[in-house]
Every structure is written in structure tokens, then in C-alpha cells.
Symmetry: C2
Subunit: 239 residues, 2 copies
């Protein structure tokens, strides 16, 4: 687990070690390479990278301050998000992303639009094949592309931060066929608005998508909750 062996981490590579390690870990988090049970230990990562603890530690603490990790007494780990946490994150995203999508309809380059088109096609293939991982990846490319096109880098960074915080949830909900349809339909609609350079349509479509995505999560989570309550009930009977 957490096998962090990137040969590309070198001292003199322009960026600081800390920045390289940060990007490396961010990438792993995004890609789901760090599971909920994993423990990230600075000294282990440092050894596997051939550097000292300090730059690793600084990258980890930055990830903590951004909400991507939590510091436990036994290494760094993914934060456990309660339903209220998810709701809070979605509230911020609902406020930011529709307007950001409207901006993107203006800011996206033709090359970006082509990339988005390819991502939509990839997502369609993934849904047809029932390939969850491919859909997740296509969705990630789609998001990364339109967000990267934003001229307001602070807005872009904030959106990325909060979106990445719930990426575990996203991957989880994608196991549900209904959610997959919502995601694909959302990508299609948002792409169409982008291609048409229709800022208002992009905003409206993104608003709807955010709503649907949260509903989808809430529905699945309620189901899990009932299960969890049932199990807890049994366990409680033991104690």
C-alpha cells in the first residue's frame, strides 16, 4: 500500500522537493491510490523517495491544511467525512461552480473544447461498458480541463480543493448505475453549453448537475445509513 516510489523526484529539478512531493501526493490522492485505511508516514515516503523527512512532512502538512488529509497519532490518513461534512462541501461547490462554468464558457479555448469532447466520448464508452474506473477518469479529465481554463486562478483552486475533498465519495457513488447516468448526462449537457459558448446555459446546467449529484449521494448514503444503523443495532444489543 501507499507505495510512493517516483523516480522523478530530484533535488535540482527547478521546483523544490516539497512542491514536487506535494504534487506527487496530490496526484495519488486524486487517482484513488490512497485508500481510506492507508497511513501515510513521512519517514517511509522519505526513504522511498531518497530524501529527508522535512520536504515530505511539509507536503503532508500542507495537504492537511487544505483538508485533503488529517494528521493522526499514527501517520497521516484520509479524513472521514460525515454526511454534514459532505453537505458543507457541496454547499460551497454549489455557490462556486455554476458561476465558474459560466466563466469557462467564455474562457475555454478550442483545444480545450476538443479535449472535453473526447472526455465525453470516453465517458459514454465507459458507461456503455460499465467501466467505473474509466468513467471516473473521463470525468476527472473533463473537470480538470474546464477548471484549468478559468482565468480566476483562486476560484479555480478553491473549486479543485473542495471537489477533490469529496472525490472518495464520487468514486463510491459511481458504483451506482443511476449516478453514472446522471454524471454522463451532466457532462453531455455542460459540454454542449460550453461548445455553444452559452454562459447562462452552462451556469444553469451546472447548477442542476450539482443538485443532482448531491441528491444522488444523499440517496445512496441514506441507504448505507439504514444498513449501518441496522448493524449498529445488533452490535449495541451485544454490549
Amino acid at each position: 500500500m501507499a507505495e510512493t516510489r517516483s523516480i522523478s523526484i530530484v533535488p535540482g529539478r527547478g521546483e523544490s522537493l516539497r512542491a514536487q512531493i506535494y504534487e506527487d501526493l496530490r496526484e495519488k490522492l486524486r487517482g484513488g491510490a490512497i485508500g481510506p485505511g492507508d497511513r501515510l508516514v513521512d519517514v517511509s515516503i522519505a526513504r522511498s523517495l531518497g530524501v529527508s523527512r522535512m520536504p515530505v512532512r511539509e507536503a503532508l502538512t500542507q495537504l492537511v491544511s487544505e483538508g485533503h488529509l488529517v494528521s493522526t497519532t499514527r501517520g497521516f490518513a484520509l479524513p472521514e467525512l460525515a454526511p454534514e461534512d459532505i453537505a458543507d462541501i457541496f454547499e460551497v461547490r454549489r455557490l462556486l461552480e455554476p458561476r465558474a462554468a459560466a466563466n469557462a464558457a467564455r474562457d475555454l479555448s478550442e483545444a480545450d473544447l476538443d479535449r472535453l469532447e473526447a472526455a465525453v466520448a470516453s465517458a459514454e464508452a465507459a458507461v456503455a461498458a460499465g467501466d467505473v474506473r474509466l468513467l471516473a477518469e473521463a470525468n476527472a479529465v473533463f473537470r480538470a480541463t474546464w477548471i484549468a481554463s478559468l482565468r480566476n486562478t483562486r476560484l479555480a483552486g478553491t473549486i479543485e480543493r473542495f471537489a477533490d475533498q469529496v472525490h472518495v465519495v464520487r468514486r463510491e457513488t459511481l458504483r451506482d448505475a443511476g449516478t453514472r447516468d446522471i454524471v454522463l448526462e451532466g457532462m453531455r449537457g455542460i459540454y454542449a453549453a460550453f461548445r455553444a459558448r452559452d454562459a447562462l446555459a452552462a451556469q444553469d446546467r451546472m447548477t442542476r448537475f450539482m443538485h443532482d449529484a448531491e441528491q444522488s449521494y444523499a440517496r445512496l448514503n441514506r441507504g448505507e445509513d439504514c444498513q449501518a444503523i441496522g448493524e449498529t443495532g445488533l452490535e449495541a444489543a451485544d454490549g
Copy 2:
């Protein structure tokens, strides 16, 4: 300058040194104790606090990652915000704060409302007396109070972060009498909406306030720009 001598920084005080130093510096930044010309040097701060460089350095790098400082080759300093940066920050704030204010109208306790009332009174006195510093402080208390009442801590944290990033600008614009009136009028209106528990009014009033505040900045900044351009023009004639 940057005399960072807080006797309260002690190792065993529950929180980590890093967290204490971070809060200490955050407070100083908010209060304007760190000027645009100052250089924060980890080893100096560490010596004055009687701790090692590491916790200081971690606090500083966290402030950098949050946009409150920039790391230069000669110490850490306040970032120089171009007009586009200010515009970007205001765009995010415009998206978040009106809705947050609406939430606050619901979440604020009676004690909070009393505190807000006192802050408004203090602001009125400050404007009457032309006391810029007092007005800035009353405004800061007002903001801190309603933001702290938010149940969505991520929303609150994000708002605080971006608002603090332009605090230098705020203090600057408060030197203008027109801006002072706008701020006071905004505080009065928003307070009234809060007290009435009128979420919609709070949202609308905050929307207007954000707009007015940005316009106020833009107006003053345009004036400075013209001056700056004029000066640059002369200098350019020399070279």
C-alpha cells in the same frame, strides 16, 4: 518592525507550537502589524519566541499556501496584489458571502446579535470621529462575529481566508471618506437584516455591499493608477 514577542508561546500549551505561532502571525496580519515592506524571517521570529526554526517555518509556509504571504529569496513578505488579483478575490467573495450572510441570519445567536449591534455603534462613533483604525477594528469584529456563527465551517474558513487577503486594501480604502460611509451603511443594513432574521434581506444587502465595496476600491485604485502612470511616464522619458 515585525517585533514578534509573544510570551504566551509555550511548548506544553495543548496546541502545537506551530499552531500557536500560526495563530499569532495570522492575528498580526489581520491587525496590520505586518506592513508591505516588512520581511518575516523564520530564524528571527524563532529567536524572539525562544523556539527553533521549524515550527515557525511551518506556520509561515502554511500562510504562504493560504495566500497570506509570499516566500521571497529574502524572507517572507506580504504579497503584492495587482488589480486583477483583487478582482479575482472579489469574484469569489461575491459568490460566497451573500449566501453566507443569509445563513448567518438564521444561525446567529442573540448574544452574537448584541455583539454586532455594539460593533455597529462603535463604527458609527469611529466614522463620526474620523477614526480610521477604530472603524477598521469595528468592521473586523462585525465580520468575525457573523462569520463565526456559520455552521458551515468550510464556508466560513474560505470567506475568512479571502477577506483577509484583501485586508490591506480595505484599510487603505478606509482612508477615503466615501468608502467609510459605504462601510458604515453596509454594516447598518446587514445588521438590521440579521436582527430581523431576514435571510433574503441579508443576502441582498450583502450582495449590494460587496458590489459597492469593489466599486469603491476600483474608483480609488483608478485614481492611483493615473498617478502611477503619470509618474511612470516621466521615468520612462528619462530611460
